[in-house]
């Protein structure tokens, strides 16, 4: 038996050393932890979505009219929300390019793509803030009835998650720039990317729900 084989056998069968790290391959603890955490996030948004459908079903008219002008609120895709949506979807791609980059060990591509993703995330938040301000000046707020409450709660919690994702991307970017990730050690990148994709998917669902799903009239 050569020395190398012996060393391998010790690592595999040592009851203590073999356990402190995953020795059998497969998904890493961090990535599995993030996937499970995202499962709970899905259920959190499921609760909010359920509330949206329930409140909407109880409303005779959806979306309701602005009581001051008797016209519809300007919850519209252009000029801001559509471009913000396109940007956010693009950022999922750049995020994945970053992951593929670090898996190959290409730190330059990784850092560049994470930086782009990070900037898009911030841009999305700024666009959302401008949109909120416009809606607020029209009189649509969290307190203006079921429509405003559900709209701002759903998009607000999504925005909070985008913010969380931006913080994660910022940490990953900082650590990436200081060379802490490599092709073998980049669990944090994988986990942050999963989170970012989740945030993106939630937005696609929210966008479809709030902007694409036809409203309902008293007869319908």
């Amino acid at each position: 038996m050569t020395t190398d084989e012996h060393a391998l056998a010790t690592t595999e069968h040592n009851p203590v050393a073999g356990l402190s790290h995953d020795s059998t391959g497969g998904i890493s603890n961090v990535v599995l932890g993030m996937l499970l955490f995202l499962t709970s996030e899905v259920m959190f948004f499921a609760g909010l979505f359920a509330a949206y459908f329930s409140v909407r079903a109880h409303s005779p008219l959806w979306p309701p009219l602005n009581p001051e002008t008797s016209e519809a609120f300007h919850v519209e895709i252009l000029p801001l929300v559509g471009p913000a949506t396109v940007l956010l979807i693009l950022s999922s791609f750049t995020c994945q390019f970053a992951v593929w980059g670090i898996r190959r060990g290409d730190r330059v591509a990784f850092v560049r793509n994470i930086a782009v993703t990070f900037v898009i995330g911030i841009t999305f938040l700024v666009m959302q803030a401008i949109d909120y301000a416009a809606l607020g000046s029209e009189g649509l707020t969290l307190a203006s009835g079921p429509y405003g409450t559900t709209y701002f709660t759903l998009t607000g919690f999504h925005g909070a998650h985008v913010f969380g994702g931006v913080v994660m991307l910022g940490v990953v970017l900082y650590r990436g720039m200081s060379g802490q990730f490599s092709a073998r050690h980049h669990d944090a990148v994988e986990a942050a990317s999963l989170y970012w994709h989740f945030v993106d998917v939630v937005w696609i669902l929210l966008f479809s729900l709030l902007y694409l799903l036809p409203g309902k009239t008293p007869q319908g």
Binding site: S40, E41, F44, H58, T150, T153
Partner: protein, 549 residues
């Protein structure tokens, strides 16, 4: 750059208190969970004694209507969210990594974070007592009762309740992620899923329930918070909201939470019965599948709390509720046939386990009554429901917790608890429990509603209420031998040794208490009873830690 290799046993000195506050050792965190839960158990218990004192006689003697509402709301909140759930999580924290042969949880620092949110959350909830009144809308906090408006819950106490429970919920979710990753990724070589001890299996299913259900509860209370403080209109019909919506999102969590509160207790009992009957558990796989089935069915029964709202499909939820009795019945077969023709050793853990079996059985049967829609229409919101929920949560969960405490205390401290004091506690608790809660069936059937501070002296409820109150104080008295026992044992208890009960599972293969890294050596794992195999099997080729690496 130099590489430092830390031997797992590298000694680091830290002062006692600092060590407990900063620890990331799953065993110390488990003990913190247990101690913290007992503190809230005693607070909740004092509140329960206030409730029983007020109800001992008709008329208002010691509490006002409003204070009474606060007291029963806080009693349930403490017992459910800050005693039973975290207590069982504490057993999971302490015992589960040992049972699967792991050196710690997968994320030790997140584990510490999960724990420290609990005392903070509990403190915030109780803070209402000094800020002008706690939450007073019941632990369910139905809307519009819990809305901030006249006749609703107007104080900041309700908001503190929401914030506190959001913390407690986050703690549960992070804990569940940690449990699941630990179970899936940290098992010792040979510890396949179907060799895992039953406590570990119940921790696994509980963690899945917490992971899927608790976030929905968080969303429910956050929406309630928005309604109360930011002018939202989710749940208040006066603002175009939907009151039934709250009940749906609330019970979507809070019914699975019932299984969160019982499964680990079932797992505990399933560890104890084989050891004290000197037999393997009868039907290991059937028990595992029954646990999984209870977890899965648990998500389809929430609306049986809402039969009388007229807003749910009664036959479906009634049928699913009855179905839960099937896997639960399977477990009763497991437990009874484990004891059947065994060499029973009547020690305190076994007594409490048998207390669990008998009392939980009653709780299951009166639960099946309530699952029947027409019966439920008569019994809804009466003391019958209070009797039922205490037979499952006290007769079930708390007896299971006591069983686990007597069973694992020697492992946690290295010292035995006194058997005589343990048996005195069991007898007092068993008698007190039945005196308190059995009469509530009769009170409910004769129409006494829940959550009332006062009742008519001519309604015929006087005697039974007085009996219940005497029983309640008997339960309180049963805590005296427990505390005295723990005190005596820590001071001068008999030394336990590694394996005082001749256990089956890996926690008994290490010292009592175990070293920070848990195991110097592990026996071979060839079945779900590795320690039994090592004790009775052919001389095993046990693996030892080598220092060569």
């Amino acid at each position: 750059m130099a590489t430092t290799v830390l031997h797992p046993a590298a000694p680091t000195y830290r002062s006692g208190l600092y060590d407990w506050i900063t620890t990331t050792d799953h065993k110390k965190i488990g003990i913190l969970y247990i101690v913290n839960s007992f503190i809230f158990f005693f607070i909740g218990g004092i509140l329960a004694m206030l409730v029983r004192s007020e109800l001992a006689f008709p008329g208002l003697q010691i509490l006002s209507d409003q204070t009474y509402n606060e007291v029963f709301t806080m009693h349930a909140t403490m017992m459910i969210f800050l005693f039973v759930i975290p207590m069982l999580a504490g057993f999971g924290n302490y015992v589960m990594p040992l049972q699967i042969g792991a050196p710690d949880m997968a994320f030790p620092r997140i584990n510490a974070l999960s724990f420290w949110m609990l005392p903070l959350g509990g403190f915030l909830i109780l803070l209402g007592f000094v800020t002008g009144g706690t939450a007073a809308a019941g632990w369910t906090s139905y809307s519009p009762l819990a809305q901030d408006r006249p006749l609703g819950s107007t104080g900041s106490g309700q908001d503190l309740w929401i914030v506190g429970l959001t913390l407690v919920g986050t703690s549960s979710i992070l804990g569940a992620v940690n449990f699941l990753v630990t179970i899936f990724k940290m098992r010792a070589p040979g510890m396949t899923l179907f060799r895992m001890p039953l406590l570990t299996w119940t921790v696994l299913v509980t963690a899945v329930l917490v992971l899927l259900a608790t976030p929905v509860f968080t969303s429910a209370v956050i929406m309630l918070f928005i309604d109360r403080n930011l002018g939202g209109s989710f749940f208040d019909p006066a603002n175009g909201g939907d009151a039934i919506l709250y009940q749906n999102v609330f019970w979507f969590y809070s019914h699975p939470a019932v299984y969160v509160m019982i499964l680990i207790a079932m797992g505990t009992v399933s560890e104890i019965l084989p050891v004290f009957s000197r037999k393997p558990l009868f039907g290991y796989k059937a028990f595992v599948f029954a646990t999984v089935a209870i977890g899965a069915l648990g998500f389809s029964v929430w609306a049986h709390h809402m039969f009388t709202t007229g807003a749910v499909y009664l036959p479906f939820f009634s049928l699913m509720t009855f179905l839960i009795a099937v896997p639960t019945g399977v477990k009763f077969f497991n437990w009874i046939f484990t004891m059947w023709r065994g060499q029973i050793r009547v020690a305190t853990p076994l007594l409490f386990a048998i207390g669990f079996l008998t009392m939980f059985l009653i709780g299951g049967i009166n639960g099946a009554f309530s699952a029947s829609v027409p019966v439920d229409f008569a019994l809804h919101d009466t003391y019958f429901v209070v009797a039922h929920l205490h037979y499952v949560l006290f007769g079930g969960s708390v007896f299971g917790i006591m069983a686990g405490l007597y069973y694992w205390f020697p492992k946690m401290t290295g010292r035995m608890l006194n058997e005589t004091l343990g048996k005195i506690q069991f007898v007092l608790m068993f008698i007190g429990f039945n005196m308190t809660f059995f009469p509530m069936h009769e009170l409910g059937l004769s129409g006494m509603p829940r959550r009332i501070a006062d009742y008519s002296s001519t309604a015929g409820w006087n005697d039974l209420n007085l009996v219940a109150t005497i029983g309640g104080f008997t339960i309180a008295a049963s805590m005296v031998p427990l505390l005295w026992n723990v005190f005596l044992s820590l001071r001068s208890g008999a030394i336990a040794g590694d394996d005082p009960w001749e256990g089956n599972t890996l926690e008994w293969a290490t010292t009592s208490p175990p070293p920070p890294y848990n195991f110097d050596r592990l026996p071979e794992i060839r079945s779900e009873r590795p320690v039994f195999d090592a004790r009775h099997g052919p001389k095993s080729h046990a693996l030892t830690t080598t220092d060569e690496h």
